[in-house]
Amino acid sequence: MSESPNKRDLPGDVSETRSLLTSGDYIAGRDLATVVYLALHMGRPMLLEGEAGVGKTEIAKVLAATLDRDLIRLQCFEGLDLASAVYEWNYPRQMVAIRIAEAEGHTGDIGKSLYSREFLTERPLLSALEEHANGPPVLLIDEIDRADEPFEAFLLEVLSDYQISIPELGTIKAKERPIVVITSNRTREVHDALRRRCLYHWVDYPSQETESRIVALKAPGIADDLRNQLVAFIHKLREQDLFKRPGVAEVIDWANALTQLDVVTLTPEVLNDTLGSLLKYQDDIAKLRGSEAARLLAEIQAAA
């Protein structure tokens, strides 16, 4: 079968995919672009793993924006169940319908009419399979590792056949496959069966050059000089033995913070004052504050 009928507005090759992402202010390496391109053309979900704050969720948002599709987001949590992920029957309305039928005296075939679309409340997964005016939507299943295993097992049907079985109503199948992005922070290993159905990509910290471009895009107010210093410092910092290394999101925050403070060049004092936007664990901050930060700074200034 042809996987994704709506190909007219999809990028034609890997390079186009890459420039598409760039047009949405997302700088992607060739590796990530290949995975996205394949996911779009093979109609497969992509499973993105990586440290927090490296831009996994952002990919879905950018895809939705650049392809002009609806973004449907399902934030996972422990105990996420059918009723809040897929659908729920509207019980009060059903009750009222029964009462009315009773009052009118024809309860004969009420069973059929009570389980119709009219009484169905759609949740993210179901609405992702529905037809959307501007093409199949982008379905973001965020932080799948926070959901428990039973939910993961349920996803298997949705992700391999793009269909959902509702016992009372029958099977609902997507006419056009949505673009599915699954992210995981790896607080728990995702099961092999789910991995097998997805295109897998480990989103790593970007290279120094790429990160510099990202910061330039996302924090445009910052001077080139400071930006280079900042990115060099971050890369030094990531080599340190930290409990949680700063992600790209933190770097952008930091760059914005520095712009707000009208900082022209990095000094140990500035570092000490703003470390909180970069490191989120007290142990890490305590380790870096003071002489250690100054030492790293001296190293990058010597290298420059």
Binding site: E49, E78, G79, W89, T187, F243
Partner: protein
């Protein structure tokens, strides 16, 4: 994608063969690649095109690899294979026979040992029994009572296997925790509206009866970290036996061992056969009976594993004598971090068997403030006590309980 001219069809046939062989090579190397993935790989390559080597590489990797730990293997295999497929084949053929005999050797070892024991061991035991027939009391109640309290270190081999059996009977599963899921239950404390509605409709709305549901529970995740340094060898063997029983009894048990470095042996212990599981562990672990670097190993656990295995507020049981060799290490800090990332930290220390034990060693003194429970683990009775504690959910009064158990052991 669907239409292709004849020449590319022929090319792709050859390419398909190559991809197939490549997949098989990876499978032999241990990657979980089934026929479905092979087909996916071909589709992916057809999609991405083979004009650029890196696209080809990323496309194959996206489909065939699903774990960062496999990246290096894939990378090496790719570069060797697609430069010269023959080369890899030859390498594999050179490697495979030795690999196979190796794995046979380790897998076959345990049964052989048991067979040998079964044939010679019982024979000699019978002989011994023959000579000491007057005083043999094996299986009698008082003997079992003695065994319950006997230090693992003082047991002979025969007693050990009997002790294993007794220990198995003492081990209970860990207390359950409530999940956020519900299931139908006749006396549940909530109404199951969905099920009720279906029932009501069955009799056309004539009879309205509400059915109930109640919360599902699962057992709490358990993380066992076991010191296998020289001074601990007897106790760690028993503890691994304990870990094996726990692994079989409930889900979400993770086991680690450490001497000079930390090893995750969870998958090894999943083998139902305890001898085979322990043999696999000993083949995996390189630092048996060596020194201990507690702080460094705990740090590795904190950084690499704690977020992955302790996400749903688990219990950590640490078996160690607390004798840290490296005096400069930040043991207190690592213990504190471990303590903060779990629900309960239990330290088993076989040294507590001495009634006059005092936490004098530096390592023990630094670790002690950060544990919730400090318990002995030198005989069946103490492990049984631990198991009972785990089954009663210990919710409140962490500190007072810690003190109480510590005093109780005095």
């Amino acid at each position: 994608m669907s239409g292709g001219n004849a020449s590319s069809e022929a090319d792709s046939g050859r390419l398909a063969d190559n991809i197939l062989m490549f997949c098989r090579t990876l499978r032999d190397a241990g990657l979980p690649i089934g026929p479905g993935r092979v087909l996916d790989a071909m589709t992916a390559v057809r999609c991405a095109g083979i004009d650029r080597r890196d696209d080809f590489y990323w496309a194959l990797r996206a489909v065939l690899v699903s774990d960062p730990a496999q990246f290096r293997l894939f990378d090496q295999a790719f570069h060797v294979y697609f430069r010269n497929p023959r080369l890899l084949e030859r390498m594999m053929s050179l490697l495979l026979p030795t690999l196979e005999t190796d794995s046979l050797g380790t897998a076959g070892e345990a049964p052989i040992r048991r067979l040998r024991e079964a044939m010679s061991g019982t024979g000699s035991a019978a002989e011994e029994q023959g000579t000491q027939i007057g005083i043999d009391q094996s299986g009698s109640w008082s003997r079992r009572e003695v065994l319950r309290r006997k230090d693992f270190e003082e047991m002979c081999l025969e007693e050990q296997s009997e002790a294993d059996e007794m220990l198995r009977a003492e081990i209970l599963s860990v207390a359950d925790v409530a999940t956020r899921r519900f299931r139908f239950h006749p006396y549940g404390n909530r109404y199951d509206l969905r099920r009720s509605m279906r029932l009501i409709l069955k009799n056309n709305g004539q009879l309205i009866e509400l059915v109930r549901k109640r919360r599902l529970t699962v057992s709490r995740p358990l993380v066992l970290i076991c010191d296998i340094s020289g001074s601990m060898s007897r106790y760690s063997r028993v503890f691994l036996y304990f870990a094996h029983v726990m692994t079989a009894r409930q889900r979400r048990v993770h086991t680690f061992v450490f001497g000079t470095r930390l090893t995750n042996i969870t998958r090894r212990l999943a083998d139902k056969d305890v001898d085979r599981a322990l043999a696999a562990v000993s083949a995996d672990v390189k630092d048996w009976d060596g020194g201990t670097r507690i702080a460094e190993c705990l740090e590795r656990f904190n950084v690499d594993w704690s977020r992955r295995v302790l996400a749903q507020s688990g219990i950590v049981i640490l078996l160690s004598d607390g004798l840290e060799r490296d005096s400069k290490a930040d043991l207190g800090f690592q213990m504190q971090r471990l303590h903060r990332s779990c629900r309960q930290l239990i330290w088993l220390n076989p040294m507590l068997r001495y009634s006059e034990f005092e936490p004098r060693a530096m390592g023990i003194r630094t670790m002690l403030p950060h544990v919730d429970l400090f318990l002995p683990a030198h005989n069946i009775e103490s492990l049984g006590q631990l198991s009972r504690l785990l089954q009663q959910d210990t919710d409140s009064g962490r500190a007072s309980r810690q003190l109480a158990t510590y005093q109780a052991t005095q």
